[in-house]
Every structure is written in structure tokens, then in C-alpha cells.
């Protein structure tokens, strides 16, 4: 695998990787960081990844790097919030700036799930991959992928933002 080939891979798939990360982090700088992380991991794994799988690989790893970033940011915000209770002058720094607060809560909850669950949900919801495709990418069975999805969604249902959101009507259950 030559450096030219590696560079060609990055040039071909950087926009898709960036979009995948942006959906989760919601801002340019963090999406760039996640894409950089995915690109450098690809450099380490460049002999194991094949031309046919590299696009899906970058999107998946960029999505995961984005989830990791959201998780770290949430931890930092919690620390800042605790500090702001003691020192009111840092209160403005604790407020999420990149996303609307409601959306940030949802993404924080997603990132707080066990990594496999958040990964499967993000690939299904944001990348719109089928469970067969997710299973192939993660090297797990389709049944296992569905189990991660079910458990993750069931956990997310317990969060307060679900109770305050507008619920679908009964007749929506019979649509499609």
C-alpha cells in the first residue's frame, strides 16, 4: 500500500466521513477532529482495509470518533456545571454552544450508552445502514446487531427528554 494510495483513499472518502461525524457532533471543528482521528486510524490499518470496504470503514470510524467526542464533551460540561455551582463566573462556559440544548441532551444520552449500542444506533439512524450491512461492518451477526439496537433504544426511552417530547398519536401505529 503506497502513500499515494492512502492519500487517494482519504481524498475520495473525506466528505462522507466528515458528514457522518458532523451528524453526531453538529459543528465543523469537532467533525474535523473526528475525521482526522478516523484518517489516522486508517493509516495504522491501511494494510488490513480493502478498496471495497474503505468508504464504509471511514464512515463507521468517523461516527465512532464523533460519539467519543460527544462523550468527552458531556463529561467536561458536567465538570464545568459542578464548578459553576461553586464559581458562578464559569457558568457561561458550561452551556452547550454547538447544538440546541435539547438536541445536545439526546446526543449525550446516545453517547452515554455502551459503545456497541451507540455505534449500532448511529449507523442505523444516521448512516441508514440495514442490520445486514451493520453486522457485516462490525463482524457480528444480524441478530446481535438487532439486540444492541433494541437494548440501546429501550435504555434511551428512560431519559427525561422522551417524557417531555411530543408523543406520536395512536393512529400513527397503523401507518405505512
Amino acid at each position: 500500500m503506497t502513500d499515494d494510495r492512502y492519500r487517494q483513499w482519504i481524498e475520495s472518502h473525506k466528505v462522507d466521513g466528515y458528514r457522518a461525524a458532523f451528524r453526531v457532533v453538529g459543528n465543523h471543528e469537532d467533525a474535523l477532529d473526528a475525521l482526522q482521528e478516523a484518517s489516522l486510524r486508517l493509516y495504522e490499518r491501511r494494510h488490513a482495509v480493502t478498496p471495497t470496504t474503505v468508504g464504509a470503514w471511514i464512515r463507521r470510524v468517523a461516527t465512532n470518533a464523533a460519539i467519543d467526542l460527544v462523550r468527552r464533551r458531556a463529561t467536561q460540561r458536567r465538570a464545568l456545571t459542578q464548578a459553576s455551582h461553586r464559581h458562578p463566573e464559569v457558568a457561561s462556559a458550561a452551556a452547550p454552544a454547538e447544538h440546541a440544548e435539547a438536541h445536545q441532551q439526546v446526543l449525550d444520552s446516545l453517547a452515554a450508552l455502551p459503545p456497541r449500542q451507540s455505534e449500532v444506533i448511529a449507523l442505523r439512524v444516521y448512516e441508514e445502514l440495514s442490520f445486514v450491512e451493520i453486522a457485516a461492518q462490525l463482524g457480528i451477526s444480524e441478530t446481535t446487531a438487532k439486540t444492541h439496537f433494541r437494548r440501546g433504544i429501550t435504555t434511551l426511552q428512560q431519559h427525561p427528554w422522551v417524557q417531555t417530547a411530543k408523543l406520536p398519536h395512536r393512529h400513527d401505529a397503523n401507518r405505512h
Binding site: 458532523f22 465543523h28 489516522l40 434511551l156 422522551v162 408523543l167 401505529a173
Partner: protein, 166 residues
């Protein structure tokens, strides 16, 4: 109420919400939640989770993706160069360590082949009065082995150097 159990129905509600059930299974689950208030409430929560997740997912505008033009030069190439330099340094250290180890082993082998030393006589169990003398003998033996090792290393390095120069 349908034949479907609550547990079996609830297991499939997230997949109903994401549209991943077979047509036949969808009909069974929908028939159940139409008559079961608790499963219906669960389905509502699952659907809400997916809707909120989709709403929270942001889409970049075209100006953001245009800013990726020099992404490789700016954010990847310097990192890759730094990693290569680090890799080369580690390889250098490992290579030097391997040369020293090889020289040491070769020297020890040469030393053993050419040594005419007789095997040490068995040391009798010391009485308390002889203890300091026996300790002295053990120290001498250790020193002898150590200097033999150093000597072997030096010979090995000299042998490697002459191989390199020839």
C-alpha cells in the same frame, strides 16, 4: 387481545419503530399494540426516541465540506510524517539492542569454546568459622563470570566490527 405476549411484542417494538420488521410480523405487533395500552405507550416512547435522534443529527452545509479542500495537507500529512519519524526511532533503538545482544551472545560462545578453565571444585558446606572465606570465594567466582561476560561482549563486538570492515 391478540395471541402475542407482551414480552414478545415489546422485544420487537424498537424494530417496528425503525421499520425493520417483516410485513407479517409488523401486522402481528400492530394488532397487539392497537389493543394493549401498555405496549402502545412503549411503542410511543420508542418512536419518540428515534424521531428525536433523527432531529438531533445535524447536516453540514456546502461551505463546511468545501473547507475540506486542504484537509490532507493540513491535518494528515504532518501527523503521518511525525508517526514515521517516531517509528524509525523505535526501529533504530530495537536494531541497536539486537546488535548488542548478538555481540554478547557471540562473544559468550567464543569465550566458552576457547576457555580452558577447569570446572570449579565442589564447595564444602562451611562451618561458621569458614563463612567469610567461602563468601569471598563466591564473590571471586561471580567477578570471574562477570569479567568473562564483558570480555565476551568485547570480543563479539570486535568480531562484528571486523566482519563489517572486511
Amino acid at each position: 387481545m391478540t395471541d402475542l405476549s407482551h414480552e414478545s411484542c415489546r422485544n420487537d417494538l424498537p424494530l417496528l419503530a425503525s421499520g425493520d420488521l417483516s410485513r407479517e410480523r409488523q401486522q402481528e405487533v400492530r394488532a397487539h399494540i392497537a389493543e394493549c395500552p401498555s405496549c402502545h405507550a412503549e411503542w410511543q416512547r420508542g418512536t419518540t426516541v428515534l424521531r428525536e435522534l433523527r432531529a438531533a443529527g445535524a447536516t453540514p452545509d456546502s461551505s463546511s465540506t468545501a473547507a475540506l479542500e486542504d484537509f490532507f495537507e493540513r491535518r494528515i500529512a504532518p501527523e503521518v510524517r511525525a508517526r514515521r519519524r517516531r517509528g524509525a526511532r523505535v526501529l533504530g533503538v530495537v536494531a541497536r539492542a539486537a546488535v548488542v545482544l548478538l555481540a554478547f551472545s557471540a562473544g559468550m560462545l567464543l569465550e566458552r569454546l576457547t576457555s580452558t578453565a577447569t570446572p570449579p571444585a565442589s564447595v564444602p558446606q562451611p562451618s561458621p568459622s569458614q563463612a567469610s572465606r567461602v563468601d569471598r570465594t563466591a564473590l571471586d567466582q561471580a567477578y570471574e563470570q562477570s569479567s568473562r561476560g564483558q570480555h565476551g561482549l568485547a570480543r563479539g563486538l570486535l568480531a562484528l566490527r571486523s566482519l563489517r570492515d572486511s
